[in-house]
Symmetry: C2
Subunit: 405 residues, 2 copies
């Protein structure tokens, strides 16, 4: 395999022209949102969160957190959608998005950080139903100060805010081919990097150096961002998947997991891989095989019309058949897209019906003991639901744990 | 200068042991928060946002957005602070933080995602003042669903939620030496990368390739994350600082700005640099000199006891003396730390009194015209206020714009 080089990545993935999705795609997003709005009787939708704002507008801005300068998008059930943004964002929205109604104020302005402009836009949407959707429900985060939201709510009459998360939950859950393409690219970049990783690691390295080497490799291969590279290891296995990378050293018998949440054009992949070092104990090796089989069971269950709880049952059933106690993490996978995780959850209760275009990570996990001490293990693969089943976006992890000598 | 290599960066910046700050530092953060809580009469503080949770607990977790699994920290005015987190986070908190009271639930759990546990912890804090601080004010973002927050508010009686942002605004604004050290490291890494950048660029490159090359260089030099690398260019100047990097080509006469928000151990630097290509027009060259002088004026005004509006006045006055119309971006700098931007704002109205340990970016900007078309330019430097003035954390940009032949 050739060494990855940035120049090869630049050639393989040339920069987008903006908007980076065709404008028909935004028409479809608006139409899909309005279909849900009609069903749940919303006059308008107030959009404030980074991911939802990006989804609706296609705005190029990278800044992940702009607490001093909130950005708003108002989607009326009928009529022209509008953005309400700090003055500094106007040029950028005009040049890189499909929006034509852009209103602005000079921010920060603690007395009125866009609130009266938002109120005006919401009132212009009318009050046929008296209901305006906002990002206030489960798995939603409001991208504005709560006191400003409550001020808006007080002045909205005769309308009121209701949970509008269903709109985004339903619309964003099904990805367009162009969105799937971005997730496929980053999943393939990360897969190639995981495949190359054993050559970069050895006993005596630290979790820290392993993750830094992989980060460099990912940038060379064309990953746009590498926000989440968690490496955790331990003798015979790890006890959680969060507490790394640290200065812990790999010894013979160590098991390492690296969980990679990386982005291409703001779309995430999210999957992990497991690696053994030297003389790997039988318990983690058997757990690895059980998880590989559980993922196979989950994949076999994945098709349009199946339910997320069905996928969970397939994976949990496979683990039971191996005699492996299932994980206590509450679910075995979730959606990915402009966020990771994002809805749906793959758990025992979630009733989401799979549709072509949904992008999921299957993430079975289990616990086991080594010399009486508890260990856990997780496996992850990313896939998109297709018309007749699924397409793996990550390259399937090998059936036996890769071991680094 | 030697080529940067990852191995050199790994040797220069070995991984932290956890918690990555000494436990005395967390005692000081808790005590500082309680001093403010006593002053503004809060019985407890409810912490939900990523940055504030990290600040109070030191938790290692990287995941930037975990919408399905909120994390809570409750700081009572007296008594033991506690974290209320998904079961999957317990091991990590026990292993990497100073916390001893850790309560958990199996998440996601839409019926009760930690809400009743949080209510119990808040009630245990008592209701001497009947006031509980929450992240609901200006420049705050709540890290939980608003409907869950409103449910909590309904059941809090006899207490009620009030704006607790002052606690974090005041406490986080003044950095400890260990925090400054992290910002200094990343500012120095980014400064070195900016210094090396002209050797990596040429006429005919795109904004895109320039930013990707800089990203690679930053990782080689030891940057932990490079979340925000915005490159924008144009003939004679740029019209905003948000709409890049794109496929725009550098031509003779182009002016490029790259704004770098990068992290070391989750602490941000945030500053830009400007570069000319080939035959640079006189207008951007003069604007560059005016901004360099304005930054000097801002630096001269920076010392303990000065006010942020005084820094603004110094920079705005300098720009006026050059005959340059000041920018319309609403401020000329802000705080940086676990977020960028974070309070304070350096604007005409902000009355924050500077104290040693405050870390700021000075960011004067102006507009000018080239052949009748509007252009803008911004300069940024990062500094920490010291006992007798300031220490630059970024390496001062040269007095004349670097030009790439």
């Amino acid at each position: 395999m050739n060494e990855p080089t940035l120049e090869a990545a630049l050639a393989a993935f040339p920069p987008d022209e903006y908007p980076s999705f065709p404008s028909a795609e935004f028409d479809q997003r608006v139409e899909a949102a309005r279909r849900v709005m009609r069903t749940i009787e919303l006059d308008a939708l107030l959009v404030t969160s980074e991911a939802n704002f990006r989804y609706m507008t296609g705005y190029i801005l990278q800044a992940p957190v702009q607490i001093a300068r909130p950005r708003y998008f108002v989607l009326p059930l009928a009529g022209t959608p509008c953005a309400i943004v700090p003055r500094t964002n106007v040029d950028g929205l005009e040049q890189t998005t499909w929006l034509r109604d852009i209103r602005s104020w000079v921010a920060p302005c603690p007395e009125d950080d866009g609130v009266s402009l938002v109120l005006e836009a919401l009132q212009q949407a009318g009050s046929r139903f008296g209901r305006i959707g906002a990002e206030i429900g489960a798995e939603a985060r409001l991208g504005m100060p709560v006191l400003d939201y409550l001020r808006l709510a007080d002045r909205l009459g005769p309308s009121r805010f209701v949970d509008g998360e269903a709109v985004f939950g339903l619309v964003r859950m099904v990805k367009s081919p162009a969105e799937v393409d971005r997730i496929r690219r980053i999943a393939q970049i990360v897969s190639a990097s995981f495949d190359a990783l054993p050559q970069l690691l050895k006993i005596g390295d630290t979790e820290w150096s392993a993750c830094r080497r992989m980060q460099l490799d990912l940038v060379l291969r064309g990953a746009h961002r590498t926000p989440h590279l968690t490496g955790v290891s331990g003798p015979g296995g790890y006890t959680n998947i969060n507490t790394g990378p640290t200065a812990r050293l790999f010894e013979s018998g160590s098991v390492l997991t690296i969980d990679a949440g990386c982005c291409f054009d703001n779309y995430w992949c999210d999957f992990n891989r497991n690696f053994g070092f030297g003389a790997v104990r039988s318990e983690p090796a058997r757990s690895y095989a059980a998880l590989h089989a559980a993922t196979e069971a989950g994949l076999r269950a994945t098709r349009p019309g199946a339910r997320t709880r069905g996928l969970f049952a397939a994976m949990a059933g496979s683990l039971s058949a191996w005699g492996a106690p299932g994980g206590t993490v509450g679910r075995m996978g979730h959606g990915i897209g402009l966020l990771a995780p994002e809805p749906p959850s793959i758990n025992a209760a979630d009733d989401t019906v799979l549709e072509p275009g949904m992008v999921l990570t299957l993430e079975p996990s289990l616990s086991f003991t080594v010399d009486g001490e508890r260990r856990i293990m997780a496996h992850e693969e990313n896939l998109v639901v297709t018309a007749d089943g699924y397409e793996l976006l990550s390259t399937r992890t090998p059936p036996e744990m890769p071991v680094i000598a």
